[in-house]
Point group: C2
Chain length 230, copies 2
DNA sequence: CAGTGGTCTAGACCACCAG
DNA sequence: TGGTGGTCTAGACCACTGA
């Protein structure tokens, strides 16, 4: 990272913002001026400023110029790991245990998420993810069979459905949501916790272009946290 | 977004990856080749590929070239809003209600987070955030008085401590974590829910360079979810 | 409608590191 | 040690939009 690099310039400008040199809402110098000041090409300043804009620190508009945001957006990034990796990272041995494997009519909520016709059938899976044999998380998943037909022959006792699907449709898009809910009877039994215990939940729907492949809820054992840096 | 723009090229390449043209782990063509193929400058391809690398879809190494990731990282981004904005976005009227305002010796866990000497005193605040008068979230916050002295004179009945601090130290860094926990007596009373109810919690510590300013836990009412797109 | 950011280009040099 | 990505430059044109 050179002294005149876009990264160096970005950090320099970030400093000037946090030090209050430009007040919240204030107009900053234009790219050309900054390029002049830092003795570099405008392209380089542009890159630095775009990066700061992505971080939510400044706002840029053509003609209007660049302004320090009044209220900086706090933007957190999370890497959502494969459960196998998450478990193995703690040094424990991972094993999925399939509790339920059925093909039934999908409930309306599920059908909507997978874009199924009402009363269409889907694959319903329930899995406990074990770390050194102890429950780590409980997964309730629905799979659109048309979108991933091979799933019916997949060896789901060795490889969780998640892993299998990841191999088949690796570069899919998705929706993620986090929430909390009390453990119901299924979660309580699977995770070996009291009914009503507060569980952290990851709720995710995945698709590839217009093929809605799967939707699942992942219930973590009490105490699980998800970290990030802002 | 032109046809030869870096965005267009990024999406084209993303397509080629999801279609399986290059298998997971496979070596992709070099920047020069792609530039040739797309009839654009190498810089443009470089930008497209860097963007895909940021998204966790590919991995790039000098000399070794660019490879499709074996296991794509699912990277979720969340904008953490000001509670006021969050509430007002639902059309409700926002009001913070200060329940507790005391200066006491900070517990060890808090002192550690704020880098205080043991048994140093800190400002302890408890606030209910109200939406149209109904509890929306409960906040338990500790403030390092040395790092934000003016807080003692702040009008915390009109403006939550969060907002006040944001005005004073707007462009700070921080740690964020999400988790779930049962409502204790304080949360239960403040949010008007049963004790033991499953609450979604945002836990955050904020600093500006080496001044550790504040740490807080925000307990949302049951049912709250945090959304994102991957 | 003029000034700002957005972006492309062509060329260049550099840093890194696998072979 | 040579080939790859990383990046800077100078110049150009474009797109948007607020004065």
């Amino acid at each position: 990272m050179n002294e005149r690099s876009h990264q160096a310039i970005r950090e320099a400008i970030r400093e000037r913002i946090s030090s209050g040199e430009w007040a919240p809402g204030a107009l900053m110098p234009g790219e050309a001026d900054l390029a002049d000041e830092y003795q570099c090409a405008r392209t380089t300043v542009n890159r630095a400023l775009q990066s700061l804009a992505e971080d939510g620190l400044i706002e840029r508009k053509r003609r209007a110029g660049t302004r320090v945001k009044e209220i900086p957006v706090k933007r957190a990034r999370f890497d959502i790991p494969l459960i196998r990796q998450e478990v193995e990272a703690t040094g424990a041995q991972y094993r999925p245990h399939l509790l339920l494997h059925e093909i039934i009519e999908a409930p309306d909520a599920v059908a909507a998420r997978l874009r199924l016709k009402t009363s269409a059938r889907a694959l319903h899976l329930q899995t406990v993810h074990l770390a050194d044999g102890a429950p780590y998380a409980f997964e309730d998943r629905w799979v659109n069979i048309d979108a991933a037909p091979g799933i019916l022959d997949a060896p789901l006792e060795e490889m969780s459905a998640n892993e299998w699907l990841l191999k088949q449709v690796p570069y899919s898009s998705g929706d993620v949501a986090f929430t909390a809910a009390p453990a119901g009877p299924r979660e309580s039994a699977a995770l070996d916790v009291a009914e009503g215990a507060a569980l952290f939940i990851l709720d995710r729907t995945t698709w590839l272009e217009d093929r809605h492949v799967t939707t699942m809820k992942l219930f973590y054992r009490p105490g699980h946290t998800l970290h990030s840096r802002v």
